[in-house]
Symmetry: C5
Subunit: 349 residues, 5 copies
């Protein structure tokens, strides 16, 4: 939540994130049913951005968002609405699907799980497409869509026979597939936690549970609007979305539903684990206190007896008797054993 934009007119193109790349990298991939052609644009001038005629698909894969002038250039070259340009560079916006007259717009988040810091890393991704043109924008240089590109460059794949709407779907599918990896990592962490909790009462476990719950909350905040966005995508009557793509989008929608379900059940499990942990810790600490108290309780009557025979009354008959001392030891040891036996029987020891 850091909105750098308060006080500006709506529609102002302001990058709200932190610059994560040195220089914006633009990867241009052009393909039709039979061919595909790749190039990397170094010089971001107006002339390098070109519009092809259909049925060729042009995919501009832009990595880096800080260069708002470049975004503006995209806007003017490919006739993209100002509010879309604003959304592209506003990393605080929630995932959404929006229909405009000249193209459709999807915002979503690529997620990866840092297994060391146990942190879900988010990357803001924007996809704009109409019939034959598609542009994707991401924050970092990571090659999110490697396998899609590989499929396009392969011979005779379904993806090449279709237009930009199917490519948009494929890219979203790629990102959502990675959510499963994130969930897997979290599940793995939960399982480790479950084992640890029964063994020890280390309070770092509790902090980890708290931390994972927070990460799931963040996950939820990314996935819940995405589900809605994909549902809108599916129900959209935009002319840029073909009917034979819809069945795939329905599938994608079901995946997001399943992911949400899983996130929610992980939250439930973590809540259960937290309760378990707290009650386990309480139980163990109480057991320790009980043991300590029992030790005290065993010695208290013995100390009392010793005290009694330490009194200085002139006439205490037992003191004169020769074996008193040994008898008292016998009595004390008997009391000691009886108490141990009693506490054992009660299962307090």
């Amino acid at each position: 939540m850091n909105k750098k934009k308060t006080g500006l007119a709506p529609g102002s193109i302001v990058f709200t994130g932190n610059r994560k790349v040195e220089k914006v990298l633009i990867h241009h991939l052009q393909y039709d049913e039979n061919n595909s052609k790749e190039r990397v644009l170094n010089n971001h001038s107006e002339s390098t951005l070109t519009k092809s005629k259909r049925p060729i698909v042009d995919w501009y894969d832009v990595r880096g968002m800080h260069d708002t002038e470049l975004i503006d250039l995209f806007g003017t070259t490919f006739d993209i609405h100002n509010l879309i340009l604003e959304s592209i560079v506003d990393i605080n916006q929630r995932p959404k699907f929006e229909e405009y007259e000249k193209g459709n717009f999807v915002l979503l988040r690529a997620l990866t799980f840092d297994t060391e810091k146990l942190v879900v890393k988010k990357e803001h991704v924007a996809i704009y497409f109409n019939e034959g043109f598609i542009a994707t924008f991401q924050e970092t240089e990571s090659d999110l869509f490697k396998s899609v590109r590989k499929r396009i460059n392969s011979e005779r794949t379904r993806i090449k026979t279709r237009l930009a709407d199917y490519l948009a779907f494929a890219l979203m599918d790629e990102i959502v597939d990675n959510y499963y990896l994130v969930l897997e990592s979290i599940e793995f962490e939960i399982e480790i936690l479950e084992e640890k909790i029964i063994d020890s009462i280390d309070s770092t476990n509790r902090n980890k549970i708290h931390h994972l719950k927070k990460e799931l909350l963040i996950l939820r905040k990314s996935i819940s609007p995405l589900r809605e966005a994909i549902s809108n995508f599916y129900k959209s009557e935009s002319s840029f979305i073909r009917d034979d793509s819809r069945v795939f989008i329905r599938n994608l929608y079901e995946n997001t539903v399943q992911i949400m379900d899983t996130v929610d059940s992980y939250r439930d499990i973590l809540n259960g684990l937290q309760d378990l942990f707290i009650s386990e810790v309480g139980f163990k600490m109480n057991k320790i206190m009980q043991l300590l108290t029992i030790i005290s309780v065993i010695f208290i009557p013995l100390t009392f007896l010793a005290g009694v025979y330490g009194m200085n009354f002139e006439y205490i008959p037992e003191l004169k008797f020769k074996y008193s001392y040994f008898i008292l030891w016998g009595v004390m040891i008997t009391i000691f054993i009886c108490m141990i036996y009693f506490f054992r029987k009660k299962k307090w020891l």
Copy 2:
């Protein structure tokens, strides 16, 4: 949650589970109103899969899912959509009902309860049917549909007078009926737990409650989408579903609603049980600590008295008096009895 498919094109047929059978077993049952004919296919070549003319119903009962080539063969022979084939072998998919042009598709989960490990075992089951053709796919060799097959092989049963839609219903009914057995087992475990909790403060009970809650969560995740799927089945306007089958599907739907209700109320009961357990344990431990503390408290003033008469002042008048020692014993026993009486009266002992 282990998606082996990240990075593949959508529609790729990949078995996402663990291979559970040596060799895929195909059981073919053909019947019409009067006759039924069974055979087991050992040779899974193209020629063994045959299409019959209506009104004969062909039921292919396939046990084992790892052989994706066989699934592919089914797809080409019986003209099944690629996305269906993908779903058949993807054991991570949620229960669902889907209408396609050439047939309807149901995914669900057969559940059994392992009473030793207290674990709900899931088996992924897929049913594809159109007017006269039905194919079922399951992960293991277990004969899930034994009683349905028996009914078909019996003379003059309703099931034989109807087509594949009714058979699909009957198979789903068979699987949902088994959910009741799972619930019964869980109810039985809950009742045992309820009795145990009042008796002892063994912490294994808490772990069991936690475990059962998790199993119910898993159950819920299977049943909740199934309910939706059956509702879609009921509301489907597919031409392969006859009107006189719908009343049965409505009944099935109501069963899933009831099962969901029961699962939810078990969760409520387990939550209540957990609260009860934690507060019971806390109560008992506090009672023990209280008892131990009372023992200390009783001896502390007595030890003080003994300490007083162990002092070495030259002039302590009581020390000289002959019966002092016995009087002191009397005083100490009186104090002892008074304190016991006081604590009893306060119901602390």
Copy 3:
């Protein structure tokens, strides 16, 4: 939850409860606007079940459900759908309203509260009616509908001027009215509990709260689907339900809504009570521990002082002084009083 039916064909008539009556009792009441005629059927042969012509209303009140042949006989005589017959004897089914071509069917539960065991007793009740025919089925011999029968046998009551749909309503109204009695009993128990909890920390109270919560859960599971059923009844466009009956059914619906509200608020109150109880018990136990600890703390410095003057150093000047002993007593009593005063002031005592 004990489904005896797993593995049977849907529509099989199987009584899933425990037989509660020796012999099924059938009470036949026939009435029109002016007359009413009662008889008890002992011989359950086909000939005893007769269909009258309208506008006479025939009410068969069947008590006992184990005799599935008799149910079957009803089915064939009065042309009742097989799925209805199955539902009549399946005591595990949830309350529901169903429209069939030849009549409407209502399932509900008569509830009574056993004030000794604090248990809500459920009885499965089925009502089937069309224009002039109505049949009710219940598990036990208890006369659930006594006052309705009395109204019919009285002169000039509204009920006699109307047909079977109004009678069905009147019977449901009778059963729902009894829910208020159940709620009243539970409210009474809750009030008793509220008073007891402030007085004592007896752990039976907690078990009672837990138990009542479970009973309310059961109640909820009966009433929630009933509310839905009555709503369906109200909205039904069945030709067997007359418009002037609907306003009464709306009233009945509002009653079930109110009952659900009350059940839910009782659950809330019980939850609050449970929290109160647990915190009250914790508070009181802590108070006790505090008191006990204070007693220890008061004697510990005194015992220390006694210990000091019990030391055997050769040169302890105080020991020689004549009034040391009395002065020490004075000091110890002063310390004692100061500590008591201090703890009082701090309100710990």
Copy 4:
């Protein structure tokens, strides 16, 4: 919840509350745009109830409900449906709005807050109106509608230019306005509680929180159906409700929504307060126990040292040395100071 009516035919006029007035008071107010005329009816005979011709509005304000014969007389004189008459005197019914052919019917509850007992007092109020006739029924003699009557008796107020539907709205508005006073009182109590909780650990505060939560539950049960009733009023297409009244009813509806919001947020605050209280009490008690234990812990090693030099060994070199006693005091005081310092540094003291 005390339903006196079990076993009676629906539509029976039975007063289900406790009689709260000696004699039913009927206040009759007749007004049109220019004039208003008041009278109090002492003789409740048929002749005193008169119907005026429109556009005169007749308002019968009936205080006291036990006289069911009078209610019946109203019914026959002004042609009111039997089910309405039943609802008027059934104080257990939830707030509702109902359209009948000859008039509309509103049930609601007047609430006042008894600031001494902290109890929300409910009064059952029924309003029946058609175009020019309106009758209100309440349980007690309190003049709920004083300010409305004053507005009618004033010159040139909007209320006089309108018909019974607007008056019905004005009366409901009057009652709902009083809810704000109730909420204000509760807010005041909550604020007091918030201050008290931080000061002391008196357990009466917890009981008060529990009590207020219960009162809010009761409030909710009155307001939640009222909101629905007013919504139905607003959406009603009854010919007795004029379009220019609707905008006022919408306003009233928004008030109930706001009241519900406030009630819910108070419940949240009270829940938070309860958690705060419990944890605060636990914290303070633990602090006390800690302090007490520290006192013990300080004296225990000192007592041990005193015990050591109280031993009777023949050869203990320290005993012979002249200044041993004073040195030991020095050691003990040093230990004492060190421990105090240590506990202070750890912030345990």
Copy 5:
């Protein structure tokens, strides 16, 4: 919640807040596509309020609400409905959007976060607009809309080319943008709390958590109805709202959804933090008690031993032996070390 209006006729113009300005300040800004003209009205007479012809937009920015006569003057001059005037000065009303025949009305709340007292300050803001006229009313003198005014006074900005509906949107956008700042401050406070909680067990942290939760509740009560209001604004078919403004309002709507999401997730985080805090405090206190008890437990057997050799029996052989005293010290030190070792190994120390 302080309704000053109980007992008044609906539609009465009563300021329900506390007067926050000396004199009401009216700022009048008139603009069309090319020009803009500002003036401050000091004399609030009828003549100063003027209506311009379209396409000029007149914006009256009124700061201060206590002067109900002025509000009335606005009402008569610009033909504003009485219920709107009532809502303008009723600071207790929830945010809402209402369509009237002659204009649309929006209520909302400007929020600022007082970082010292950690309090969310609310200011009631009302916006009334039709085609070319817009009036805003606020409680204090703070210049809420500074940046909007700046945009209007700049050359060639979109805002000047549009009419009052877009200005209304821009003003609401301005206010909603400030919500992000409030959320940022709260997030900052939460982060500080998270760090503090792990360090110390100071109970002020708990009060802060409780306080922030309450503030979020207040925030929620402002934002939740606002979301609804903006949704109604978006869906409104009022002729005063142009289609090209709608896309901006949709954006604004999404912002409120995101803000609600954030508020809810902060609540979740605070709840988690509170649980963490309570369990952390409990854990630390238990650790301290455990340490204290261990100290006691170590000295208790030693004190017992000293007590034994302080007894006065005539025949205790050890007492005569020369090195007994030193051997006993050795034994006691051994016991001491063993116990320390034991507790260390158990990780209790």
